[in-house]
Subunit: 247 residues, 2 copies
């Protein structure tokens, strides 16, 4: 199943087998997107959404002076632009980080789900709100944390999300983000990213050696940036709303 990673570790277990099949059928066949390829540009009308199977994708807003702010990083199992279904046009660009394997979902299929599968629809809604929850935490990160804390916080988030979909082994992840990318995520200069990354390395907390990320001391990493992963809704299984299926 292509969609087996969707909300894995989160609400996926709230889906019935029939719903999983509906979702799987809604997704087309896989396509490979070359590294750094732009999938959608701000303002374009969208008639399909994109499900990420392998690799990373980035959402970003470009400023007028060429300064870029990455607003979301997507990992396998994420819908990259499901919000495009309800919004019709995006307010930002989306691109692949490295090479990415994706599958498209026609909005027609999503309309059918809205009409016939209210419970599944609510789960899809939830998944877009998970992005919003991450956005909020990013706002906190940028507004209230120091440069070193921001980087640590981002690494914690990435680790948690990748662990959900089984892509962390021995606290090692494949993360092909450049220091420039990390700068665009953390809202600091690439030179300073280099310095704080060096500090983390020297403190034997985490080592960024593209394309691999080694986390040596996860607890220390979390402690230094007051990371509380509850916004990722990892224990969502406790809060499944079955009401929509009862009737």
């Amino acid at each position: 199943m292509i969609t087996e990673l969707f909300l894995e570790g989160r609400l996926r277990q709230a889906l019935s087998e029939a719903e999983k099949q509906v979702l799987e059928d809604a997704v087309g066949r896989c396509v490979i997107l070359p590294a750094r390829e732009v999938l959608i540009r701000k303002g374009e009308l969208a008639e399909r959404s994109t499900y990420l199977v392998e690799g990373y994708m980035l959402r970003y807003i470009d400023g007028i002076d060429g300064d870029r702010q990455i607003v979301c990083v997507h990992v396998p199992g994420d819908f990259v632009d499901l919000h495009g279904f309800a919004m019709k046009r995006l307010d930002h660009d989306v691109c692949a980080l490295g090479e990415a394997k994706i599958a498209y979902v026609p909005h027609k299929a999503l309309s059918d789900i809205m009409r016939n599968e209210p419970h599944l629809a609510r789960i899809l809604w939830f998944s877009t709100l998970l992005d919003a929850a991450m956005h909020r935490e990013w706002i906190f990160r940028l507004g209230r944390l120091s440069a070193k804390e921001r980087l640590a916080h981002f690494i914690c988030e990435l680790h948690t999300r990748m662990a959900f979909v089984g892509l962390v082994e021995n606290n090692i992840l494949r993360v092909p983000l450049t220091q420039q990318d990390l700068a665009d995520i953390c809202g600091i200069s690439p030179i300073h990213i280099n310095r704080v990354a060096a500090e983390l390395r020297e403190a034997e907390i985490a080592t960024l050696a593209r394309p691999m990320l080694h986390i040596h001391d996860l607890q220390a990493l979390k402690d230094m940036c007051q990371f509380d992963g509850s916004y990722l809704y990892g224990e969502g299984r406790l809060h499944v709303d079955s009401e929509l299926r009862l009737k």
Copy 2:
């Protein structure tokens, strides 16, 4: 109609009269919330959502050292915690700014809408994604703008949103945010907010004189922070998806 401001200036005109009535019926009677009263705390299970009729409400994340980051400001016509319907518990606190008039919507009523009114459901989904779009712009603001630009950018956003719901007259708005609040929004210290606010005043661009905000030169304000309000989807009327109503 209590809900007449909902998505006013945005997708409201996409709703049929029948749908407007369904929405209106879903909303209970109005309640007054005292200034600074906390409506919901992080982690609480939600069984209803809140529609804001009058006043302002704030969503914020508190750090460990008492440092607060406001992640969203709500104006009349907004659902404050509609995402609580799909998420069941919130990842942040919500409070009133000044006195606020609100109305509750039981999640039971929202479930009914999900089941019976797919088009209206999609519009509700859209409204939560509008919050996400604002979150993204806030990320850009915090990550890439200077202190003065951040304040200008926030003022532009507030102006645009308040104008949608008819609460701006002669470029004057009622905004009872303190400088501390503005600091918690812009991710800078209250002292520095005072300084950049003074700069805007002296440049005759905008004057913050709580509880009123006067914008003297809107164009200059927008120019100085590269404000592009398209993320607020003000011309959403162009992109209405009627497919869900056709069948």
